[in-house]
Amino acid sequence: MVETVKQAAASAQGAPYLRIANVVKKFGDTTAVDGVDLDIRKNEIFALLGSSGCGKSTLLRMLAGMERPTSGKIILDGEDITALAPYDRPINMMFQSYALFPHMSVADNIAFGLKQDKMPKGEIDARVAEMLDLVQMRKYANRKPYQLSGGQQQRVALARSLAKRPKLLLLDEPLGALDKKLRQQTQLELVNTLEQVGVTCIMVTHDQEEAMTMATRIGIMSEGQLLQIGSPAEIYDYPNCRFTAEFIGDTNMFAGPVVVDEPDSVEIDSPELGSRIHIDHGITGPKGMQVWASIRPEDVHLDVVPQPAGPNVARGEVHDIAYLGSFSVYHVKLASGKVVKSMVAANHWHENSITPPTWGDTVYVSWRPDMPVVLTR
């Protein structure tokens, strides 16, 4: 009771449930994690997203206690856990490819952590049954891990990591070992289970779709640093750097200097585009500064009739068409050799009674001035 009141007070003050403060991890000369600051709220599902070797797994291992930070602090629910051994932390992890104990049954795997806490046998049995129900694996309680399919193993691993009711649950590439079809189905199933239990969760993944589907917030990691933190929509719509823009979704990137810098608009000279990019929301940057404009393929219009020359317009020819069912992605090669991708809905041409352009046809790409996102790094 006292505990819940204290926790409620803490969350009312807006104090984070988990605070990762300036954590650095060096292996010899290489810096795997380079000064990460991150606050996690209670009951949040947070995804650390990045390509392999970006330091996300090392950060997760430091949270689990398998690695000790070179410097920095990790504070969970008001307690400094930086130096605690893994077996003393109120944190459990679902391992990549699960690490289920091969010599124990499903029930014994789930009971393992509870037995370490010297929980009475009756309570262990009740908790194991509860966990088996949670992941719908009751029928398989006496099976050995090697007798289970990949999806079933994943559910046992989840049950095992939730059995001790950890304050923080860590998921290391939770669905990486499953095939694509099963993965999509399991993503939502996993989120439902986590929300049902109400656990604070940090997951590590290299799969942006997985992160976007499951997480309430995403942190993009590259070379040991957290580049951007935000909701999936924030990160997609307002990337703060080229890495994020290119890593999440697909984009067209144009580099060039700022040539016009008005309070409410900027223009960027893009040699690749062969014209200027006009953006009707200002950035603060000196004239001549090198910046990048990112325009998502779905924001690029494709026209077959000539468009008046000007900013945000370029002429090219259709280089490639990727037909993806409900839409197609046209790869348009500009005079500079730059390929611009434009996503066109399948019914677009038909509704406007236009013959769809095909390979080698001359087309015009353009976008609204509010579409490009200007990036300075």
């Binding site: 689990a64 077996y87 690490a99 095992r160």
Partner: protein, 305 residues
């Protein structure tokens, strides 16, 4: 896809590959075994070879088949043989236990050493095999003798005035037995420990098990097959060991290998020696069958271990 097609193509050759070791076992294990079995049912005779024939054949017609059970009867009634078998089993058992207690930490340390150093350590375990077994036993004699290196050294530094009795007793027997059989324990244990998935220990720690608890609940059960394999590799040959008890064991050490030698060479009693050997083989078939069962069980299933 390509791999499975390749395997299917190889299938006719598979039988031939398996046939070679089976033929080898048939020729050099099963055939000699039946020869020994035959001799064990014969009587000692003053002839060449020194035993009676089981079959009486006249004019191409089998006249009689004589199976003489006297050898087995003697073994089962004379208490000395039972005591010798028991003593052999006891020596083999304690040798196995000591090899396990000593070999497990060594195998564990080698398996956990970094891969660059691991091969050097393994090489050190196998290095003694490069010298003749007999030579190594003689080396121990030179060390343990009353005038051997150890006693000479201890006396020269004045630590003892009388030579220690290190030789021709149980101490020297077990010392050299464990020395000789230790690699057979370490190697199978190592091969099991080294392929253990280290993330299982991380998972155990993550779930609250300290290092000792994790060892007892994860590492030890998962190396069970290695323990069984190593123990069998030591126990089975140790039961029939002759050279070590003969050269460094006490004069009162009863070992079945010594009895075999005595019957065969000293008493020239081939049938008796054969009967002793047959009973020893039958005694060992039980642990061998156990070993075989565990090995096959390990080969089947357990794809993820």
């Amino acid at each position: 896809m390509n791999m499975s097609r390749l395997l299917r193509k190889l299938k006719p050759g598979k039988g031939a590959v398996i046939a070679v070791p089976y033929f080898w076992l048939l020729l050099f294990f099963l055939v000699p075994f039946f020869i020994v079995l035959k001799i064990s049912f014969a009587e000692q005779d003053l002839a060449i070879p020194p035993f009676t024939s089981l079959l009486q054949v006249e004019d191409g017609v089998l006249q009689s088949l004589t199976l003489y059970f006297g050898n087995f009867h003697f073994i089962f009634t004379d208490g000395l043989y039972a005591a010798t078998y028991l003593s052999s089993l006891k020596v083999a058992f304690f040798t196995t236990v000591m090899c396990l207690l000593l070999g497990y930490p060594i195998a564990y340390a080698i398996a956990r050493a970094d891969p660059a150093r691991r091969n050097v350590l393994l090489m050190l375990v196998m290095l003694p095999f490069w010298t003749s077994f007999l030579l190594r036993v003689y080396a121990w004699m030179g060390l343990l003798n009353e005038t051997g290196l150890i006693n000479n050294f201890l006396m020269s530094i004045g630590l003892i005035s009388e030579p220690l009795h290190l030789f021709h007793n149980d101490f020297s027997l077990y010392l050299v037995m464990v020395y000789a059989y230790l690699p057979f324990m370490i190697l199978p244990l190592f091969s099991h420990l080294v392929k253990m998935d280290m993330r299982l220990l991380e998972a155990a720690a993550d779930l609250g098990a300290g290092p000792i608890k994790a060892f007892l609940t994860i590492t030890l059960p998962l190396s069970k097959n290695g323990i069984i394999a190593g123990s069998m590799m030591v126990f089975i040959p140790a039961v029939g060991e002759f050279v070590i008890p003969e050269l460094v064991g006490g004069t009162d050490t009863l070992m079945i290998g010594k009895v075999l030698w005595n019957e065969f060479f000293d008493n020239n009693n081939w049938p008796m020696a054969s009967a002793v050997a047959i009973i020893m083989v039958l005694m060992l078939i039980v642990p061998i069958a156990l070993l075989h069962r565990y090995e096959t069980r390990e080969l089947e299933g357990k794809g993820n271990a």
